[in-house]
């Protein structure tokens, strides 16, 4: 398992020059879909923690369509749309690829579902 879009949304470029407020760009090579337990309560609460624009951008890269374009449009009583959101946020795993710092161009590789966010000696 790993890395899901929820995790991507929690992360940021560790580069000194990066602003800490811009999402990393996903490059996806191998992607898996892995079922996770649907928890409406969790979903409803986590939405406020997300950078929604960053999430939509990343979801699009992973071919997840039909998501609400803003959090105001989310209808938590609509089970079908909440399950779609759950799927995009929690069930699409980037196994191989990279997270790219768009401000510096630095690529952080993802292998075995684990992003390696360590800086090199000369970047410290």
């Amino acid at each position: 398992a790993n890395m899901i879009l929820l995790t991507h949304n929690m992360m940021v470029s560790p580069m000194k020059e990066a602003s800490k407020s811009v999402p990393l760009k996903i490059e996806a090579e191998e992607v898996q879909e892995l079922e996770k337990e649907f928890n409406l309560d969790f979903l409803v609460n986590i939405i406020d923690r997300l950078d929604w624009a960053g999430f939509l951008e990343a979801a699009a890269i992973l071919n997840q369509q039909g998501l609400p374009s803003s959090t105001e449009e989310i209808d938590k009583t609509n089970e079908e749309s909440m399950r779609k959101l759950h799927h995009a946020l929690m069930e699409v795993d980037v196994v191989t690829g990279a997270l790219v710092c768009t401000e510096t161009g630095r690529r952080f590789p993802i292998a075995g579902g684990i992003p390696n966010m360590l800086l090199n000696q000369d970047e410290l």
Binding site: N2, M11, N39, D41, F42, R49, N116, L118
Partner: protein, 194 residues
């Protein structure tokens, strides 16, 4: 990489903190320097409704943690990073867990090997853990808390006053004698505004 005394103390403390934690309904739990992942695996089995994240700087630790999570049938999002350097500072963390390298050592020992990195804490055993305190305000959610392992030698009163100046309360939630030292589990959480 077998769990040690401090891991068991940490797990015992978290077990006792479960009522407090469950009442807070945490959504995000992150363990820094997760090592073999035992602490996160334990909490993930007892705390529902949260997503668990775990990171370590050591790739071998991450592989070991993955095996522990799979064996315990818990889902944990893993990533390799240096403390909170790659975590977005948006008050996203409800429960932060850290068993840091806490042994007082000369500075050079801190980077002498992967294993040394897991216990060598430099001056007063504080050089690693001190790096997370300044940004805790930006990382912990309003109701968020940090649980961490410390030694008496790490000067917990100093940690408490540093964190108090930042609006946090500190409490020793568990204590155990370990050789000639005392191992402590500290809980650090926001002082509520009146």
């Amino acid at each position: 990489y077998e769990p040690a005394e401090d891991t068991f103390l940490f797990m015992d403390a978290l077990q006792e903190e479960l009522p407090f934690l469950m009442e807070r309904e945490p959504r995000t739990v992150l363990e820094l320097g997760c090592g073999s992942g035992c602490v996160t695996a334990f909490l993930a089995q007892h705390l529902r409704g949260a997503t668990f994240f775990a990171s370590d700087i050591n790739p071998h630790a991450l592989q070991a943690a993955r095996r522990v999570f799979d064996a315990n049938k818990v889902e944990v999002e893993l990533f390799q990073a240096d403390l909170l350097s790659a975590w977005r500072p948006r008050g996203n963390i409800d429960v932060l867990l850290f068993n840091p390298p806490y042994v007082p050592t000369p500075k050079e020992e801190m980077t002498s090997s992967w294993i040394a990195r897991s216990w060598a804490g430099g001056d007063r055993g504080r050089e690693v853990v001190d790096r997370i305190f300044p940004s805790l305000q930006e990382h912990l959610s309003a109701g968020g808390c940090l649980y961490m392992v410390a030694l008496d030698s790490n000067d917990p009163h100093d940690i408490a006053s540093e964190m108090s100046a930042r609006g946090f309360r500190t409490k020793v939630v568990k204590k155990r004698k370990a050789g000639i030292e005392f191992l402590l589990i500290l809980k650090i959480w926001r002082r509520l505004q009146a």
